[in-house]
């Protein structure tokens, strides 16, 4: 049992890395554009289908497929901003939420029509590493390391460049940001393009681990949302820490009980946080 738990803990940490990017993307979009991207996990699902189609049907090398998928999903994110989010920027919160939730249905059915309901996976054989009694799947380890690199690049972008600084400024005060010469429309588009590219990156990390099906994204949208709330809406560092908490909790409780209970335990944490600390573990309470 102890060895099983140790394995679960390691797997939880490895999963936490990828979840951290997922939550980062959703958090960034919420922080800057102030909308909740309800179909974020579904975008990951579409990205995985892009990689599947390229590698399995057109026999494009896996790595090249991943690069293409990141580009395609970045464009997809940009289109989402132009066609769906931008027209709704001044609309009621509820209408924005409904429109983005509607995208879940659109994307999932799109996948149904194009790829069908069957599980689609790519064939990649990578060895399992063992460290004493701990067994690590190579794709999981690569995904984890890749996630840390992506997060580091995102950090440098946000903290070292003018566009990154503009993104952070606009998240704090749009009107004041315009007075600095920052074009909100341009920054919103950039944010959705980055958010979209990240769904492509996650798809690349997930493809060697999971098979994809039209409803693959749902649990990840939910997981990202739970992490974002847990870490405090708009709080990027909080989201990073929360991603590992959720990764560990779900994978450890899956070993202790069952997969269903694992998802329930994540939701229980979510409900407790909303009840007891609605500003999130590291969020700042905003008084009105």
């Amino acid at each position: 049992m102890g060895i099983l738990l140790l394995n679960a803990l390691v797997n939880g940490i490895l999963l936490g890395g990828v979840l951290a990017i997922l939550a980062f993307g959703m958090n960034l979009i919420f922080g800057v554009v102030k909308v909740i991207h309800m179909a974020y996990g579904q975008c990951v699902m579409l990205g995985m289908y892009v990689i599947y189609t390229l590698t399995s049907i057109y026999h494009v090398p896996f790595l090249l497929s991943c690069v293409v998928a990141v580009g395609v999903m970045a464009v997809w994110g940009g289109l989402l901003q132009i066609l769906v989010i931008k027209p709704l920027l001044k609309a009621e919160r509820l209408n924005q939420l409904l429109a983005l939730a509607g995208l879940i249905i659109v994307f999932e059915n799109l996948a149904h029509v194009v790829w069908g309901a069957d599980l689609r996976g790519i064939e990649i054989q990578l060895p399992v590493l063992s460290l004493g009694n701990v067994f690590i799947k190579t794709p999981s380890l690569l995904a984890f390391l890749g996630s840390l690199i992506v997060l580091l690049v995102l950090y440098l972008f946000l903290y070292r460049t003018y566009p990154g600084l503009a993104i952070r400024a606009i998240a704090q005060d749009v009107e004041c940001a315009q007075l600095m010469g920052i074009n909100p429309g341009g920054i919103y588009l950039l944010t959705l393009v980055i958010g979209g590219a990240l769904t492509g990156v996650i798809a690349a990390f997930f493809s060697p681990i999971y098979s994809v099906h039209p409803h693959f994204g749902g649990s990840f949208t939910l997981m990202a949302f739970i992490i974002v709330v847990l870490g405090g809406m708009g709080n990027l560092l909080g989201g990073f820490i929360a991603a590992f908490i959720i990764g560990i909790v779900t994978s450890v409780s899956a070993v202790l009980t069952s997969l269903e209970i694992a998802e329930i335990s994540a939701l229980v944490i979510f409900i407790l946080v909303v009840l007891l600390r609605p500003q999130g573990l590291m969020g700042v309470r905003v008084s009105k």
């Binding site: 600084l165 704090q172 004041c176 315009q178 007075l179 600095m180 010469g181 920052i182 909100p184």
Partner: protein, 234 residues
């Protein structure tokens, strides 16, 4: 340099400005005084593009800027320092200055500009790494003005720079504004503290209920009976 002619500005159905005319020449310091709700802030917001006048014309260096979005007007060299020193609370002092130089023409000289600002405001250098949220009200106002200078503006709009500050801090602040003025920036300042503001300016306007009631150079404006009684208390 800036010519505002006959602008009407509305908030929805409510009209806030009625045919307002204001002009500012190069290197000039102009003050607009008036009671609360007279439309002083509205005037500044209309100039910098946060509000759009329904009728009338605003020309800056000869070209019309009515209808341009705020970020385009900032690029042209008009910089508003909003009321209460609205700095970005979660950015450090240094990052607030850096974002001040976001416009293309200011980026190149960014390093040197920061050094100059630190010489002018040593307090900001001491607090370089602190987030702006932790600054006092006076420091925040100074940071907001410094941030505006970072954009190498041609015209600085100051919205109630002294509002909410302790009297001693207010004096310091007006000294800074006087410094900036000596450096040759054109300034349009809106201010409740008429006595201090009028000492600083070349010309002044009185705005009441959305209309320009009076305008003149410093001496003649300050000598008006209405100004002396209602705004200077003498």
């Amino acid at each position: 340099m800036l010519e505002v002619s006959k602008i009407d500005v509305y908030y929805g159905e409510f009209q806030a400005l009625f045919g307002v005319d204001v002009r500012i020449s190069e290197r000039e310091c102009v003050v607009t005084v008036g009671p609360n709700g007279a439309g002083k802030t509205t005037l500044l917001k209309a100039i910098c593009g946060l509000l759009s006048p329904r009728t009338g014309e605003i020309r800056f260096e000869g070209r019309s800027i009515v209808g341009l979005p705020a970020h385009r007007i900032a690029e042209l060299g008009i910089s508003l320092v909003p009321e209460g020193g609205r700095v970005f609370p979660q950015l450090s002092v240094f990052e607030n200055l850096k974002i001040g130089s976001y416009v293309e023409r200011a980026r190149r000289g960014f390093r040197q500009a920061v050094e100059e600002i630190y010489e002018l405001f040593p307090r900001l250098k001491e607090r370089e790494k602190q987030v702006a949220d932790t600054l006092s009200g006076g420091e925040r106002q100074m940071l907001a003005i410094a941030r505006s200078l970072m954009s190498r503006p041609k015209l600085i709009l100051l919205d109630e720079p002294s509002s909410g500050l302790a009297p001693m801090v207010v004096s310091m602040l007006f000294d800074f504004v006087a410094d900036i003025r000596r450096q040759g920036y054109a300034i349009l300042m809106v201010e409740q503290n008429a006595r201090k503001a009028l000492q600083l300016c070349d010309r002044a306007y009185l705005l009441e209920s959305g209309r320009v009631r009076l305008e003149g150079d410093r001496e003649s404006f300050s000598a008006e009976e209405h100004i002396r009684k209602a705004y200077l208390g003498i």
